[in-house]
């Protein structure tokens, strides 16, 4: 206020103030154009990405960098991208064999000729009809703070848990409290930048890639549902938006819901979730035939 021009400027601004148009009419015009606007959904339901995590320091990065490769031709070698494969065929075969072995053990423990539906006198009731449902999850408060570390250029976020709110479940069996936990690895130069237009921290970097696993658990007085899924996020080079793929999620029932399963599609922002509650487990993942 020490500037002698301040009163003049203030007076000028107030005197030249234009009368605003009718707000109702303007609102009508805005609302008319609203259907043309595609709402940007929350690109990622994990609130962790919107929060400042402890950014890895330069020391962290240098500490874990591999030693430079000695060039044999006198030129300086430049290593770009990852230097090892994310996918290990050996591990995949080992996991497949393990699943197969567990299935075999279960089969031995309960042979076909002793299963309930073949025991004389057992009720012949078939599985109940699948029940479709809709529901929404709204991100809400943190239950457990994550720990963020950097290992060989990969940011690893572990132990993040949230309590999203279950909104409008069309089937009362899905009402209750939801706990959502996610662990994720971020590859590439993923850094967070504050985007004032959305008032949120958005990831930046040309090769941002996020791979994670999450677990959903819904609990109510009758029982619980729990299941896990794998998600993948990457930066669209065209738009710069973060895209994601979540596929479907299967939850297994507990308590009164024992034997029931929930399968649902997952949209990026947990809006308009659709699914079905069905009796009996989904088919076990098939094992491909061994290569000749």
């Amino acid at each position: 206020m020490s500037d002698p021009m301040t009163p003049e400027v203030r007076d000028w601004m107030r005197r030249t103030h234009a009368e605003p148009p009718d707000a109702q009419q303007s609102a009508r015009q805005v609302m008319t154009r609203l259907p043309e606007v595609r709402q940007r959904s929350r690109w990622w339901p994990l609130p962790v990405l919107y929060r400042r995590t402890k950014a890895p320091t330069a020391a962290d990065a240098t500490d874990h960098q591999s030693s430079p490769i000695q060039a044999t031709n006198g030129h300086a070698a430049t290593v770009t991208g990852r230097t090892h494969l994310m996918f290990s065929p050996t591990k995949a075969i080992a996991v497949g064999a393990l699943v197969f072995a567990i299935g075999g053990v279960l089969l031995v423990a309960e042979p076909f000729d002793q299963r309930g539906d073949s025991v004389p006198g057992a009720t012949e009731a078939g599985p109940s009809e699948p029940v479709p449902f809709t529901v929404r999850f709204v991100p809400a408060g943190s239950v457990r703070a994550p720990v963020s570390t950097m290992e060989q250029g990969v940011t690893k976020i572990r132990g993040d848990c949230w309590a999203p709110v279950i909104v409008d479940p069309s089937d009362p069996r899905l009402a209750g409290t939801l706990t959502y936990c996610a662990d994720e690895d971020r590859y590439g130069p993923v850094q967070e930048r504050f985007d004032a237009s959305t008032d949120a921290y958005q990831p930046v970097g040309e090769e941002s890639l996020i791979v994670g696993n999450d677990t959903y658990r819904i609990e109510n007085a009758q029982g619980a549902w729990q299941g896990s899924s794998t998600f993948l996020g990457w930066k669209d080079p065209g738009s710069g938006d973060m895209l994601e793929d979540r596929g479907a999620l299967v939850l297994a029932g507990e308590g009164a819901y024992e034997g029931l399963f929930v399968a649902m599609t997952l949209l990026p922002d947990w809006s308009d979730i659709r699914g079905v509650i069905f009796d009996g487990p989904p088919p076990v993942a098939p094992v491909p035939p061994a290569a000749e």
Partner: protein, 186 residues
């Protein structure tokens, strides 16, 4: 605006968003007009800001006030509008000249005209700080917080803007004498 309406709008309730538009329209229009100095452009920018708010409201993180965020969106739209219409000329309202102006009134008009010219030469960033600080009476701390800029930047923008306005005021006006009444031929 109460948090409930904003929360409902975030969930996609168009009725709630309609209430938001009605409730916040004058506030945003006032700022848009202050920055752009053009009623039509200001209304366009205000409406576009609401459309941008609708587009991003689900992404917007609920940790800042809706008002502050809406100002940020509006300022961004104002930048875009001006960039889009390079040939834009503000529709400054002319004072009626039917009544002869006294010399002091004329002096005031000249002063306003010089301010108008000086203001139009400012960058939008500088205009924005002046509008938020001098028209909305925001403290510079609030201006910095609203625009998400450091406090020092807000101070320097205001200082430079005022310097530029002062320089504009010291420039000679194109017309230095009161306008004579036009004789209209019968």
């Amino acid at each position: 605006m109460d948090q409930h309406v904003v929360a409902e709008a975030r969930r996609g309730d168009t009725g709630a968003f309609d209430s938001l538009v009605v409730g916040h329209h004058h506030r945003l229009f006032r700022v848009a007009h202050g920055i752009l100095r053009d009623s039509h452009l200001a209304e366009d920018a205000t409406q576009q800001a609401f459309l941008d708010i609708w587009r991003d409201i689900r992404r917007w993180r609920d940790r800042a006030k809706f008002e502050a965020w809406s100002y940020r969106v509006l300022v961004r739209v104002c930048h875009a509008e001006v960039k889009r219409r390079r040939d834009w000329v503000p529709d400054t309202e002319l004072l009626p000249t039917e009544v002869p102006l006294a010399s002091d009134q004329f002096g005031a008009v000249v002063q306003r005209d010089q301010l108008e010219r000086g203001f139009r030469q400012l960058s939008l960033d500088h205009r924005t700080v002046i509008v938020l600080h001098h028209l909305l009476d925001m403290t510079l701390e609030t201006v910095a917080e609203t625009l998400d800029i450091p406090l020092g930047t807000a101070h320097s923008r205001l200082s430079r803007a005022m310097q530029a306005l002062r320089a504009a005021m010291q420039q000679p006006s194109p017309s230095t004498s009161p306008p004579a009444r036009q004789e209209v031929a019968p």
